[in-house]
Structure formats: C-alpha cells, structure tokens
Symmetry: C2
Subunit: 220 residues, 2 copies
DNA sequence: AATTAAAGTTTGAGTAGTCAAACTTTTTTG
DNA sequence: CAAAAAAGTTTGACTACTCAAACTTTAATT
C-alpha cells in the first residue's frame, strides 16, 4: 500500500497533469502544492519513479503511469465519498469539508468505503459537483462549460464549483452559488472582465471572469 | 499533537497500567502489544518521558502522567465513537470494527468527532459495552462483575465483553453473548473450570472460566 | 548463594520524509 | 544572443520510527 505521503503526491500530480496542456506536471508547482521544498519533491519523484507510479526524466515533465493513475482515482474516490458523508449526514459546512476529508481519506479501508458509499446511495458527485469515480476507477464527467464563457441572457444551472479554497467556497455559498442552483446571466462586460448573474430568487451578483471560470454550468 | 505512533503507545500503556495490580506497565508487554522489539519500546518510552507523557525510571515500571492519561482517554473516546458508528450506521460486523477503528481513530478531528457523537445521540458505551469517555475525559464505568464469578441459578444481563480479539468476539456473537442479552447461569463446576449458561431463548452453552471472565454482567 | 531466565537497555544501522543551501539546466527576456 | 530568472537537482543533515544483536540488570529457581 502507498503511504499517506505518497498518496498526497500522486493526488497532487493527478490534478497538475489535468490542468496542464501538456499533460505533464513540474516539480516547482508540485512542491508548492504540497508545501515542501523543490529538493524534497525531486527526491520523492525519484522514489515514485522507482516504484513505477510516475514516468519522469531528469529536467523534464512528470506524468502518472497507469498504476499511479489508479491510485489517484482511488484516493479521489475516498476523498469525495467522505466529503459527501460529511455534508449530507454530519451537516458540516460545505466550505470546510475539503480539509477534513484530506485527513480521513487515508484511513478508509475498502470495506468501509464501500459501506459508506452504499449508505449514501452510491452518489455520482460530491457536494462541490466533482464526479466520484466508481470502485473500478471510472469517472463520468457531466459535460459543462465555465460560467465565464456564457453570454448575456443565458439561463444555466450550476453543476460544479472547481476550487477547494475555503474562502472561495465560503464566498460562493454566501452568494448562493452551489451545484443545482439555476442562474440567469444578465450582462457580460469584457472590458471590466466581469459579468452579472442572478440566482433563481436572489439579487444580481457581479462576478469577475476569474471567479466565473471556476463555476461550471450546463444549459437548461 | 501526538503522532499516530505516540497515540498507539499511550493507548497500550493505558490498558497495561489498568490491568496491572501495581498500576505500572513494563517494556516487554508493551513491545509485545505493539508488535515491536523491546529496544524500540525502550527508546520510545524515553521519548515519551521527555515529552512528559509518562513517568519512568530505568529498569523500573512505566506510568502515564496526567497529560498522558488525557491523551489516552481522548484516543479511547475517538475509538469507541467510531466503533459505535461502524456498527450502528454502517452495519459492520461487531467482531471486525476494532481493527477498522484502530486506523480511523487517528484521523478524526475534534469537530468531526463531536458531530459524529451528536449524530449517534451521545452514546455512553460502544458496541462491546466499553464506556465512552465524554469530551472532558470523564468515564463512567457501570458496576459489573465477571460472569465467571456468578453462582448457579443467577439471572444476569451482559453489559460488556472485555476482549477485542476478533475470534473471541466472533465466538461470543455466534453464541449470542452480546451486551443487553439476559442469561441464566445453570451450573458451575469449579473442578472443570467451566460453567453452563443459557441465553433468553437459546440453548445452554458451556463456557470456560477464562472466557467467562471476559464477559461482564450485572444482576437483574 | 549461584545460576539461569526474563526484563530492560544500548548500539549501529536502515527507511521515510523533510530542509537549507549550493549547484546545474532550461526558459525567458531585454 | 547574452544575462537573468525560473526550474530542477544534489548534498549533507535532521526527526521519527524501526530492527538485530550485544549487553546489563533484575527476578526466579535450583
């Protein structure tokens, strides 16, 4: 079994590879993400490479192997199932569960994970709208687009908030932006890099393009 | 915060001090309990002593300090709340939950512990009848006596099974011996070191004194 | 009391993970 | 393209935890 630290490196690498156009991660971002020095990250990459969890040549990009990818999906599954449990059953604050799940995800046995998943009714997404991989590692991402790409007068439904940052989630929740909520885009102003949206029975809210890029929606 | 390893040492020390008449633990038993060598245990005791969690002189007994005791009770609280959750909510097998809780107990934040405890209705004992310390560290042990001390014809109710061993618990569950179950002691034979008991609507079962010593009962 | 067994300790070594700081390679940019 | 910045690597050292094996002290037995 992968140690807790290894699982965290793999998980971070998965996310970094996702968001990079080349599909490869770099040591500097990885180190920053995990709060360690570059040297530490380099030596860990060497170990992961030896364990065939990543593919990496010196001074070049890092990519997960199939084996590494499997672990990443497994950790994500545990993380998201726990988040769902914490919000739905224990009524923890939507904005807080990420940090809590971060610790618990490493202590969950396959047996408990399955019971928890069953108890929750096999949820397909977590409270932020992030898809939960199934036990075999299949992820079904609902097609969606960032709110930032919407045009004026569009009617959409929020499906996902793509940021685990506590303060951003707090802001989103306070503004009523959570998965399932319907919005109307009232206006878009490219020059001020912002747009105004209104939730079902709420007041109009102005969002920066940056914030709106983290809110994924589907048309309704 | 105490590391996971430290928590395990403290927990084992607590149990050993409890069951020893002198109230002190020894390195050999401690090492055996934790599956490490005596040397490893000795060096850890030195560290715990330095951290003021235990009181220990070379070649003499080990006792927890007030600080150490606090940690032990806290870990036990987490352990037993989780066990209760696993049995009551996730329907895990009574005999299996100890090992599972062993891993989870170290990952539980105070916040989640409290929510879980609240969700379960602030239980006072876990599924084995072990008392759950409250958040302040108070434990209220229901007065009871071992089934082994009962005389023939006594009617009693099981309040606690004092053994976390999987196979013993499996045996106990299969025989219908669980907290809350009423028993009638049918006969006691000191020469064969055994006694025969019968559960409410079950068949008579012969128990060794050793097994009966682990079953705590109260008179009804 | 002398011997043996058990309990406890010390030493030297190893793994996992980390840092600081010096260093090398690659990329960016004036 | 040359200089500077950024990215990546190496080295030496440290903490936490572990073992095996030699050793010392205490307890048990003859």
């Amino acid at each position: 079994m992968a140690t807790e630290t290894v699982e965290n490196y793999i998980k971070a690498l998965y996310a970094l590879c996702r968001e990079s156009p080349s599909g490869e991660a770099g040591v500097a971002r990885l180190a920053q993400e995990l709060g360690v020095t570059k040297g530490t990250a380099t030596s860990m990459i060497k170990r992961l490479s030896l364990a065939r969890l990543v593919k990496a040549e010196p001074y070049s990009g890092i990519a997960l192997t199939a084996k590494g990818n499997k672990i990443a999906l497994d950790v994500m599954r545990r993380h998201r199932v726990i988040e769902t449990f914490l919000v739905r059953i224990l009524k923890l604050d939507w904005a807080d569960v990420h940090e809590e799940a971060e610790r618990l995800e490493h202590a969950l046995s396959p047996r408990i994970l399955d019971r928890l998943d069953h108890f929750l009714g096999r949820p397909s997404t977590d409270p932020h709208g992030d898809p939960i991989p199934d036990a075999a590692g299949n992820v079904s991402e609902a097609r969606s687009k960032p709110l930032a790409k919407c045009r004026a007068r569009e009617r959409v439904r929020i499906v996902r908030i793509k940021d685990q940052n506590r303060s951003f989630l707090k802001f989103a929740a306070d503004s009523g932006f959570m998965p399932g909520v319907n919005l109307v885009v009232q206006s878009v102003s490219p020059q001020s890099a912002s747009l105004v949206v209104r939730a079902a029975r709420g007041k109009p809210v102005t969002l920066s393009q940056i914030a709106a890029a983290k809110i994924l929606v589907k048309m309704i």
